[in-house]
Structures are given as C-alpha cells and as structure tokens.
C-alpha cells in the first residue's frame, strides 16, 4: 500500500463521508426535534438523483438540472410530509418505521414504473471534467474534489443556519426539549415542516451530487440510509456537529477498510483466504466501530437530548 493509494482512498472516503453527512444532517434534525424515525429519508436521496437525471436529460445541462432538482426535492419532501408523515407524529416508533417502510416500497417501485429498471447516467458537467494533479503521479478527478468542496461549503452554511440564526436556535432548542419549546409559544409543527423540507432538500442535493459518479437506479438510497443511521447513532441523535464528525469517520473507515483489509489479512492468511476474510471483516468494520462507541457512550459522541 503506497502513499498515493492511501491518499486516493482517503479522498474517496472523505467524499463518501460528505455525501453521508448531507443525508444524515436532515435525518438527525428530524429525529432530534420531533422524535420521528423516517426510514424513507434514503429514498429522498434517490428521488434527488432521479430529478437530476430527468432535468439533465430535458435541459442538457448539469447546472440547470441542479437548480431545478433542489426545489423539486424540497416540494417532494413537503408533499410526503403532507400525505403521510404528518399523520404519524403522535404515533409510536413502530408505526413510524412501518409506514415509512411502506413509502420506500412505493417510491422504489414508482421510479421503476416511471423511468424503468435500467440505471440512468448523468454526464459530468463540462467545467468539472478531467483530473487535477494532487501530488507526483496522482491524478484525482476534479468532479470528486468538487463534491468534497461543495459538501464542506454546505456543511458550513448549515452550521451558520443552525448556530447563528433564529430558526436554527429554535431547532436546537427543539432537539433539546421539544415540549418546552412548544409551551413557549412556538408552532412546533411548522418548525418541523421547515426542518423536514430542508432535510429532504439536503438529501436530494446529495443525490444530485452523486448522480454523475454513481448510476441512478431504484433502491440506491437504501444502503446509504443504513450508513446514515450508523452516523447518527455514533454522532448522537439531533447533533449536527456529531453527524459531521461521525459521517467523515464512517466514510473514511468504510472506504479504507474495503481497500486495506484484504492486504492486512494477507499478513496472516493465504491470498484467497485473505481476500474472503478481508472482505467480510471490512464490511463489518463500521458496525463493530459503532458497537464499540456505543458500549462506552450509549447516547453517541455528542448527545443533545436533555434527559
């Protein structure tokens, strides 16, 4: 394992972490403020990617698709909130899990009905094609670097919104003690709608960013949803800062584990065994890390909820 490869995998991990953060941020706020478990958050990411593919095909421009997909993802999120989620706030977690699971079934099959089962491709924008020489002998795609930069900028914006604005203050207060905020005269339902719509848009944004490098296909959000859950559990429910740190951690551990574990295993095992054991171990790695963190800090790294 050379330094170059390590750097490339590190950057890939960072990029996965950024995408995870964009998904986990909305999820953790919705959890935090309303104690609402939304399994359908992963399909918001998928829907964002499909919007990008659709608008890119219509307009022929990635930038136009980005500009159109964001409000579309927002509206779609608000529509779902109006149709389904609104009726679940007062129900127990079990009902929320099942109803949002139903939403996943409908939407995963729905995009198949509308766009077909074959994966769609979104071309990389002209401006961001090609590679940059990060160091001697290492050419890294510009678009992937742009994802990292764009994601970090969004994280900064989110930090400013949550920490420095009035709505952000209410969101933080809601995450700490929602009934108290409601008792102080804040319309917590409307606050939740804002948080929800914004979270859906962030997940959609992640979908748009991922569309040119991954294939856009039904069910693409399902696996990322689970990783986003791991991120929130590690980071602490309701904490944006926790979600950010945990997302980068999970992204890097997951990516480096996949590339390094088989090599590491070769120190102890034969080549074919090392490949199999390494692959199995690397897929368990982040879950073992999660279990280890929870064993010491059951409420995650940055707990928010007052208890």
């Amino acid at each position: 394992m050379s330094t170059t490869l390590l750097l490339v995998q590190g950057l890939n991990g960072l990029q996965l972490g950024i995408l995870l953060f964009l998904i986990a941020a909305g999820l953790t706020l919705v959890f935090g403020v309303m104690d609402f478990i939304n399994l359908a958050h992963g399909v918001q990411y998928m829907v964002g990617a499909y919007f990008a593919a659709f608008f890119a095909a219509q307009t022929g421009s990635f930038w136009a698709a980005l500009l159109l997909a964001l409000p579309a993802a927002l509206l779609f999120g608000l529509l779902l909130e109006f149709l389904v989620f609104r009726h679940l706030y007062d129900r127990d977690h079990l009902a929320q899990v099942l109803a949002t699971f139903g939403v996943i079934l409908v939407l995963n099959q729905g995009v198949k009905l509308v766009f077909g089962a074959a994966p769609l491709q979104v071309p990389t924008p002209e401006l961001l094609t090609g590679g940059i020489r990060v160091m001697e002998g290492l050419l890294y795609p510009v678009y992937r670097l742009a994802i990292i930069v764009g994601g970090l900028a969004t994280a900064g914006l989110l930090w400013w919104l949550v920490e420095r604005t009035k709505v952000g203050m209410l969101v933080r207060a809601g995450a700490t003690n929602a009934p108290m905020v409601a008792a102080l005269g804040v319309d917590i339902r409307r606050l939740f709608m804002i948080v929800f719509g914004f979270g859906a848009m962030l997940a959609g944004f992640a979908g748009v960013l991922a569309a040119p490098i991954l294939s856009v296909e039904p069910g693409m959000g399902d696996n990322l949803l689970i990783l986003a859950f791991v991120v929130i559990v590690i980071g602490g429910i309701g904490s944006i800062r926790g979600a950010f740190i945990a997302a980068l951690l999970v992204g890097i551990v997951e990516t480096l584990g996949r590339s390094m574990m088989p090599d590491l295993m070769r120190l102890f095992l034969s080549a074919s065994e090392a490949r199999q054991v390494g692959a199995a171990l690397s897929s368990m790695l982040i879950y073992i890390a999660m279990a280890a963190i929870l064993a010491f800090r059951p409420a995650g790294l940055f707990p928010v909820r007052a208890s």
Binding site: F31, L88, L98, F101, L105, V230, S283, Y287, A291
Partner: protein, 316 residues
C-alpha cells in the same frame, strides 16, 4: 377457564386449518409450497411478536436471525453434513450466538436507538453474507440436498415437509405462549410497561430483555433452517433489511394483542403478496400503499378488526 380457551381459539383454529388443508383441496404442490413459506415466516413472526409485544423491543434486524440459521445449513451442506440432529442445533446455535453478541450491545438501548442498532447489525450480517464468495456471494447457494432426518428423506416429501413446518410452528407458538404467561414473561411486560418501576421492584431489565432477544433469535434460526430447506437455495437477499421490515409488517398486520396476530399476519402477508404479484408488474406500489393505510387506519391489525368494526358501528 372458558375465557382462556377462547383467547387461544384464533391460533388453534388457524393451526387446525393448516393441518387439514392438504386434504381439503389444498394438496397441490404449488399451494403446499406457498403454505410452507407462510408457516416458516409465521414462525419467525411469532418470535418477533414475542419481542415487540412482550418486551417492547422493536427489532429491525430479525431477518438476520433467519439468515444465520439458513447459512448454517449452507456451510454444513458444503461440508456434506446433512443430518438434522447436527444441522438444526447448529442453525439454532448460530442464530442465538449472533443474537447474544449483538443483543449485548443493542438491548442496553431502547426506542429509536434500538431500532437503528438492530437495523445496522442486520445489515452487517447481510454484507457479510454477500462477501462469502465461497458460498456463492451475492448470487446465493443451491443446496445439494435437503437435510436428512435420522438418515431418512422425510423433508423431501411435500407432505412430510408440510407437517414438519406445521409442527415447528405449533411448537413455537406454544412455547412463546407459555413463556409470556410465565414469571419471566410477566417481568418482561413489567419492564416494557415501566422500566423504572420494574427496577424499583428489584428486577434488572437487562438480563430479561437480553434473554428474550436470544430466544427470539434462536427461533429465527430454526425458521431459517426450514427456509433454506424449503427453497433448497439461500441468498443474501433473504437477509436484507427489507425482509426484516416485512417480518415487522406481518406482526403489525396481524395485531399485537396476542401471538395469534403474528400467525394471522404472516398468512395474510404471504397470500396478499402472492395474489398482488400476479395482478400487476408493479404490485409493490399497491403493497406499499396498503401497508401505509394499514398502519394509519388499522392500529389493532387484522385480529383487532372485528372489535374496531363493532366500535365504529356502535358510534355510527
């Protein structure tokens, strides 16, 4: 006494109907396959119902327990070990062991945390299964033969398999029923109702909940053993978290008022799935909508439906 029998009546009727079904016009191979699938899923659902209804532990990783049982069959089959007295205990122990290891962490938490952690551990099992290249990886593994019972090919016969599944389901139901009625079950429900008060009475919730989790896992492993034998094929797709969601749906579809809800829910689920999938290529859309509507408008599930209708009629 009478009321006690009456509360068990729905389950006994369902099990009785399954017992006579092969001789009452449902003896075709295709129908027997469908019923075997329903009974095996019902077994896992009853165990899950014990967790959800009895202990308040909403597990989103129950399919992984079935997966451990099924993969135990696969690994032993690959080593040409097919005797039931070895394979079945191995399947149960594998699933119980996984439940113990993951439950030790998961059961410390509750509510949303518990749901997410069981989901994550279930997904860990799924990805591990996909990386087992020696056992087919993503594509799955076809068994050389069904498991043998005492050297005989009892499970090869369709009727033999039907009654093996029915026996396992009945035993599972009876065991979970007795467990819930026992002192252990009462402590579980006390912990579910009010953990603080149960602790004040001197019961530490942790060992009780962990034991329930391991028992449900062991039953899931046995169901996985049968599932592998039913299809003679095992693939990671059977363990994915969507399967766990479906198991949870069965429990809720039937209703949480008793274990018979899980039986009813699993049968209803399999029939609905089978019927819908023949109607429309994109049947999952209807299925999903029905799931959402069931959660929103049918809080008591199918078993609570008569009471719900009666209540609405009184009001109306």
């Amino acid at each position: 006494m009478f009321s006690r029998i009456r509360s068990e009546l729905p389950a006994l009727l369902l099990l009785g109907a399954l017992a006579v079904a092969p001789f009452a016009g449902f003896g075709e191979g295709y129908l027997l396959t469908l019923m075997a699938r329903a009974m095996i899923l019902a077994m896992a659902a009853v165990a899950l119902s014990l967790l959800v209804g009895g202990a308040g532990l909403v597990s989103m990783g129950h399919a992984a327990m079935m997966g451990f049982g099924a993969y135990a069959v696969v690994i032993l089959d690959d080593a040409r070990i097919v005797e039931a007295h070895i394979v079945l205990p191995a399947a149960i122990l594998a699933a119980a062991g996984f439940a113990l290891a993951t439950g030790a962490v998961a059961v410390r938490t509750s509510g949303v945390h518990f749901i997410m952690i069981t989901l994550a551990f279930g997904q860990m099992a799924y990805f591990t299964a996909t990386s087992l290249a020696g056992y087919g990886g993503d594509d799955g593994y076809t068994l050389y033969a069904r498991t043998q019972v005492a050297g005989g090919r009892l499970l090869e016969s369709r009727l033999g398999f039907h009654y093996a599944c029915l026996g396992a389901l009945a035993a599972t139901w009876l065991f979970c029923r007795m467990l819930l009625a026992s002192r252990f079950g009462r402590v579980l429900r006390a912990v579910k109702g009010n953990p603080m008060r149960a602790q004040a009475l001197g019961f530490s919730p942790y060992p009780y909940r962990l034991t329930a989790y391991v028992i449900a896992g062991a039953i899931g492993g046995a169901a996985g053993f049968l599932f592998a034998n039913a299809a003679e094929f095992v693939a990671p797709a059977y363990i994915s978290w969507q399967r766990s969601g479906e198991l949870l749906f069965m429990v809720i579809l039937g209703g949480l008022s008793g274990l018979h809800g899980a039986l009813l829910g699993a049968l209803g689920f399999v029939l609905l799935e089978e019927w819908l999938s023949h109607q429309w290529e994109h049947w999952r859309i209807i299925f999903g909508v029905l799931l959402i509507l069931a959660v929103l408008w049918m809080p008591g599930g199918l078993s609570g439906l008569p009471a719900q209708i009666a209540k609405a009629a009184r009001r109306g």
